[in-house]
C-alpha cells in the first residue's frame, strides 16, 4: 500500500497515547481515519517510557489548557480504564519536604491544587510522613498528601486506545516517516518513507517530532527539545518498601526524582532531567545512574539493597511554548497538538475531546456520529494487583495454555502470549511482545525464557502440542 487511491478524511500523525486517543474519537464518526506513525509499533516514542502516573493535575499551572485537560483527562481515563481493563491502582502520592524552604512551599502547593480544582491535599507532619512511608530515608520535615494520584499501565493505555481506534475502523499505518507535505485545495498529501498518504484533514500529534511537522505546514511557533529522563526499576521484592508515590517538592528545574511503585509490582526511581538534541537518543548514562543512586541513597537507602531489573530512558517533548499548543487551521485543514509533555498519558483522552470541539467549531469536517460503534476492547490484565491468568484456576481449566508459565519472573503464560498474536494489534518485535505481556521484563531479563520467547515470536505464539502438556516422569 504505497499510495492510497481514496484520500482519508483525516490522518492523525503519531500513534502515541494522544494520537491514538484522537484517532479513536474521530473514528466514532462516519469518517475514513488513518493513524500514522514513523515507528514499527504504536507508542514507540514518549508514550512507552514515562513514569506511568495517572495525575490529578494538582500541581499544574492554574488556568492553562494543560491544567484543564489533565483534570478532565484524569476522570476520562479512569473511567475508560474501568471499561477496558487498563490496570490502575489508586496508591495516592506524598510530596515530601526535606528542608525548610520546601516545607514553606507546601501551603502554596496546596493552594495551587485548590485552584486546579483538586481539594483533597493535606499538609502532614514528619511523624505522619514516616507513618505513611516507613522506609523513607531520615530527615523528612513534612509532607503534602495527594490521595488520588494513581499508577497506571502506560503501555496498555496506548494499546487500548489504538485497538479501539482500529476496531472502529481507523487504519493503522506504521513505519511511515513523514518527509514532506503537499497541501492542495481539497487534500493534503504526506510524502512518507513508505509512499504517499493523502487526506482531507491532518492532525499533528507527532510528539517529539511535532515541531518538525508543524514546520512542514508552514509554521514556526514552537520548538521541541527532547528532555531525557533516566529511570531505575527495582525488583518486585522491593515493593514492600513503598506503597505510594513519593514525590519531591517541585523546583524551577522540574519535578525532580520520585520513588513510586509500578503497576507491575516493582519500584521505580527517577527520572533524571537532561535536555539533549537527538530526538532518538534513549540511551542511559553513567552520570544518570550515579545521580539516581545518590538520590535513592537519600530518599530510601533500603531500596538500593535490592536488585535493579530494568533501566531505561524516556524523552519528554519539552516545548518552548509554556502550555499545550492545540489549534486548528481551517485554511490548511490542519490541527496542531503540540507540547503535550509527560502529562499526555493522563490528558490524552481530554486532548482528543478538545480536538473534537475544535473540529466542530471550525466546521471543516462533517462530523456525523456512527450508530455502529463497537464497544471498547477488553484488554489483557498485565497489572500485578488484579487476578493474573496464572492464578486463575477456572481460566486454566478452560484452557491449559494459561497454566503454562513461559516467563517465570513475570509469570506470563503461553496463553497470554498466543492471545496477543490474535489481537487487532499483534506484536512484530520482542519489544512489542514485552510491552503487551511483560514477558522478559522481569529480574532475569531472559536468562530462563529469552530463547523460548524468541521462538514464540517466530511461531506467533503457537506452542508445539507436545510441549504444552504436562510431562510426567515416574517409574
Amino acid at each position: 500500500m504505497s499510495t492510497t487511491a481514496q484520500p482519508y478524511d483525516v490522518v492523525v500523525i503519531g500513534a502515541g497515547i494522544v494520537g491514538s486517543a484522537i484517532a479513536r474519537t474521530l473514528a466514532g464518526y462516519r469518517l475514513r481515519v488513518a493513524l500514522l506513525d514513523a515507528r514499527d509499533d504504536v507508542g514507540e516514542g514518549t508514550s512507552k517510557a514515562n513514569t506511568a502516573i495517572l495525575h490529578t493535575g494538582f500541581d499544574a499551572s492554574p488556568g492553562t489548557l494543560e491544567s484543564r485537560l489533565v483534570h478532565e483527562g484524569y476522570h476520562l481515563l479512569a473511567a475508560y480504564a474501568q471499561e477496558t481493563g487498563i490496570p490502575v491502582e489508586r496508591t495516592g502520592a506524598l510530596l515530601v519536604a526535606w528542608d525548610e524552604e520546601q516545607r514553606d512551599a507546601l501551603p502554596g502547593l496546596q493552594a495551587k491544587a485548590e485552584k486546579n480544582g483538586y481539594h483533597e491535599c493535606r499538609i502532614v507532619d514528619a511523624d505522619e510522613v514516616y507513618a505513611q512511608v516507613p522506609h523513607l530515608g531520615p530527615g523528612a520535615l513534612a509532607g503534602l498528601t495527594v490521595p488520588d494520584e494513581s499508577i497506571i499501565c502506560t503501555w496498555t493505555t496506548n494499546f487500548a486506545l489504538a485497538t479501539d481506534a482500529v476496531q472502529r475502523g481507523a487504519e493503522l499505518l506504521l513505519e511511515r516517516y513523514v518527509q514532506s507535505v503537499d497541501i492542495t485545495d481539497q487534500t493534503t498529501t504526506l510524502h512518507t518513507s513508505r509512499g504517499d498518504v493523502t487526506a482531507r484533514w491532518v492532525i499533528n500529534a507527532a510528539g517529539l517530532g511535532g515541531d518538525i511537522i508543524d514546520g512542514l505546514f508552514g509554521y514556526d511557533r514552537f520548538t521541541i527539545t527532547p528532555r531525557r529522563g533516566e529511570l531505575l526499576v527495582y525488583d518486585k521484592q522491593a515493593r514492600q518498601l513503598v506503597d505510594k508515590i513519593v514525590l519531591p517538592v517541585p523546583t524551577a528545574r522540574g519535578k525532580g526524582v520520585l520513588v513510586s511503585p509500578t503497576i507491575y509490582g516493582n519500584v521505580m526511581l527517577g527520572p533524571t532531567a537532561e535536555d539533549i538534541t537527538d530526538k532518538t537518543n534513549t540511551g542511559t548514562t553513567e552520570k544518570g545512574f550515579e545521580f539516581l543512586l545518590g538520590k535513592g541513597q537519600q530518599l530510601m537507602p533500603e531500596l538500593l539493597e535490592e536488585e535493579v531489573t530494568a533501566t531505561y530512558a524516556g524523552l519528554r517533548a519539552a516545548s518552548s511554548h509554556p502550555d499545550y499548543l492545540i489549534e486548528a487551521d481551517r485554511e490548511r485543514r490542519y490541527v496542531v497538538v503540540g507540547g503535550v509533555r509527560s502529562t499526555g498519558l493522563t490528558s490524552g483522552m481530554a486532548v482528543a475531546q478538545y480536538v473534537d470541539h475544535l473540529l466542530h467549531e471550525t466546521g471543516g469536517l462533517e462530523l456525523v456520529e456512527r450508530d455502529d460503534v463497537p464497544p471498547p476492547p477488553r484488554m489483557p490484565n498485565i497489572g500485578e494487583a488484579f487476578l493474573r491468568p496464572y492464578q486463575d484456576a477456572a481460566r486454566i481449566a478452560a484452557d491449559p495454555a494459561y497454566g503454562k508459565i513461559v516467563c517465570f519472573c513475570e509469570r506470563v503464560t503461553a496463553g497470554e502470549i498466543r492471545d496477543t498474536f490474535c489481537s487487532p494489534l499483534p506484536p512484530t518485535t520482542v519489544e512489542g511482545l514485552r510491552r503487551r505481556t511483560r514477558a522478559m521484563n522481569g529480574r532475569c531479563q531472559g536468562f530462563f525464557c529469552g530463547a523460548e520467547v524468541g521462538e514464540l515470536l517466530k511461531t506467533r505464539g503457537n506452542v508445539p502440542a507436545a510441549a504444552s502438556h504436562i510431562q510426567e516422569v515416574s517409574s
Binding site: 553513567e286 492464578q391 484456576a393 477456572a394 497454566g403 520482542v430 530462563f448 530463547a451 502438556h469 516422569v473
Partner: protein
C-alpha cells in the same frame, strides 16, 4: 496473592512427604536419594518443560566428575539424573511452577493441569542461581539487541538452535565465561575480547592458556564495560581500564554477560527466611536447614555458583537430614554463625553449633574476591585467631573455594562471633 491462591476454585491438593522445588542436579539427586527412604511420595516440581536444570543446555563435557566419577556432557548428565530420580520412584512434575506459599510447608503451584496446592511434610528449595543481567549490573548505553547472559545464549543455541552475531565481547573470564566462548564458537561467532575486573583471568590456569590459543581470544584484565553502543542492534562496547582510566571502543555485535551470580531466592524471601546479605542466599545450618522448620535448601541457591556435581552432592547430603526430620529426630539448633571476611565474600553453610552434623562433603564453601596461589585460611573468634589452615589449592574469583570443615572443629559457638578470612600476606 496467598488469599487468591487458596480461594481459587478447582485447586487440586497433593500431599507428598517431601516436595522438592527445582529439578536441577541438586533437586534430582535429592529425589533419587529420598524416594526409597521416605514413607510417602517425593514430588519434584519443575517450572521448565524438561527436568535437568542448567546442564540441559550446557552442551559440552565436564559434568559428573565429583558425584559420578565420570566425564559427561551436560545433557547426558541431566538425562542420567532424571532417569535415576524416576527409577527411584520420585514423581517429577514439569511445567509446574511454585508461585508462592499457602502455608509453612504448603505450596501454590501453577501448571497446565490447573492450580495445585502441595501440602508437604518437608520442603526442599533447590531453585538454583542465575547470572545478573545488564540492568542489575548497571551497564549504561543504548538498548540495542544482542546482549545476553550465558544462560540465555545457551538456551538459544543448544535448545532452540538459534544464532547470534559474528563478533562477541564476553564480560567475565571465569569457567562459565569460557563455556560461553565455546557456545559462541559453535554458532560461528568469534569472541574478540573477554573482560575481567580482576588482575588475572579467573578460571583454571589449565584452561585459560589453551583457551586463549584455541579460541584466539584476548583477555583484558582490570577492565570493565562502561557502555554498550548501538541501536537497534549492538555495534560495540566501550571498556575502561580500572587502573589507568583509559577507555576504548571495541566493535562487536554481541555482548555476553557471564558470571555475577544471584540465587533464585524469590521463594526463600517470600517465606521470610533469613537471607545472607551478600550472597542473597537463604541461611542454612550444616544440616541444610533454613530458618523455617521442615524447609531445607540445597545446591546453587546456597552457593552461587558451584559446579553441578557439587550441587548434586548437596542433594545426597540433605537426604539423611530430611529423613531424620520426618522421623522427629532434630539436631540442636544453631548457636552461632560463621561470617566471611575479606577477601571472602560469603561462606556456606554459616549457621553452626557444637553438635552440628558435618556439612556436605565435609567442606566449607567460600567465594573469594582475590586470586591467592597458596592461601592460608584463618578462623577468628572475637577477633583472635583460633585456627588456621594452608590449602595446596588456590583461591580464585569466579569459582568456589573449598576448605575442610575440620578447620572449625572444637569451636565454642556460644563464646562470640566467629569469622573466616585469610592470613595477612607479606
Amino acid at each position: 496473592m496467598t488469599t487468591l491462591d487458596v480461594e481459587a476454585t478447582g485447586t487440586q491438593v497433593l500431599t507428598p512427604a517431601v516436595a522438592i522445588i527445582g529439578a536441577g542436579p541438586s533437586g534430582l539427586r535429592a529425589a533419587a536419594e529420598l524416594a526409597p527412604r521416605v514413607n510417602g511420595e517425593v514430588l519434584v516440581l519443575e517450572r521448565e518443560s524438561v527436568a535437568g536444570g542448567i546442564p540441559r543446555h550446557s552442551d559440552h563435557l565436564g559434568y559428573g566428575i565429583r558425584d559420578r566419577h565420570a566425564f559427561l556432557t551436560g545433557p547426558r548428565y541431566a538425562q542420567l539424573l532424571r532417569d535415576e530420580a524416576a527409577a527411584a520412584g520420585a514423581r517429577i512434575l514439569t511445567n509446574a511452577m511454585v508461585t508462592g506459599w499457602a502455608g509453612d510447608r504448603s505450596l501454590a503451584v501453577t501448571s497446565p493441569e490447573g492450580r495445585i496446592q502441595v501440602d508437604a511434610q518437608a520442603v526442599i528449595l533447590a531453585t538454583g542461581a542465575r547470572e545478573r543481567p545488564r540492568p542489575a549490573r548497571l551497564i549504561p548505553g543504548d538498548r540495542g539487541r544482542g546482549v545476553y547472559t550465558t544462560g540465555h545464549l545457551q538456551n538459544l543455541v543448544h535448545l532452540k538452535h538459534g544464532r547470534v552475531g559474528k563478533k562477541a565481547v564476553v564480560v567475565g573470564a571465569e569457567l562459565v565465561s569460557w563455556s560461553a566462548v565455546m557456545t559462541l564458537q559453535h554458532v560461528g561467532c568469534r569472541t574478540v575480547l573477554m573482560t575481567t575486573e580482576y588482575p588475572k583471568a579467573d578460571s583454571y590456569a589449565a584452561f585459560t592458556g589453551p583457551g586463549r590459543v584455541m579460541f584466539r581470544t584476548k583477555v583484558a584484565t582490570r577492565t570493565r564495560v562502561v557502555r554498550i553502543l548501538g541501536r537497534p542492534d549492538v555495534t560495540g562496547v566501550e571498556v575502561e581500564h580500572l587502573d589507568t582510566g583509559e577507555r576504548r571502543t571495541i566493535e562487536c555485535d554481541t555482548v555476553i554477560l557471564t558470571g555475577d551470580w544471584i540465587p533464585d531466592n524469590e521463594l526463600a524471601r517470600a517465606a521470610g527466611l533469613p537471607i545472607d546479605p551478600v550472597s542473597k542466599s537463604p541461611l542454612v545450618d550444616t544440616a541444610l536447614r533454613t530458618g523455617r522448620p521442615g524447609v531445607f535448601a540445597i545446591g546453587n541457591v546456597l552457593h552461587p555458583v558451584d559446579t553441578a556435581d557439587v550441587a548434586a552432592l548437596d542433594g545426597a547430603a540433605v537426604a539423611e537430614h530430611v529423613v531424620a526430620y520426618l522421623a522427629g529426630q532434630l539436631p540442636g539448633d544453631a548457636q552461632g554463625s560463621l561470617t566471611a571476611e575479606r577477601p571472602f565474600r560469603w561462606v556456606s553453610p554459616s549457621l553452626w553449633s557444637a553438635t552440628a552434623p558435618a556439612p556436605p562433603r565435609d567442606r566449607l564453601l567460600l567465594w573469594s574476591e582475590e586470586f591467592v596461589a597458596f592461601p592460608t585460611v584463618v578462623v577468628r573468634q572475637n577477633g583472635k585467631e583460633v585456627a588456621r589452615k594452608r590449602t595446596p589449592w588456590p583461591a580464585a574469583p569466579g569459582r568456589v573455594f573449598r576448605v575442610p570443615a575440620s578447620i572449625v572443629e572444637g569451636i565454642d559457638w556460644t563464646a562470640g562471633p566467629v569469622t573466616i578470612g585469610m592470613a595477612e600476606r607479606r
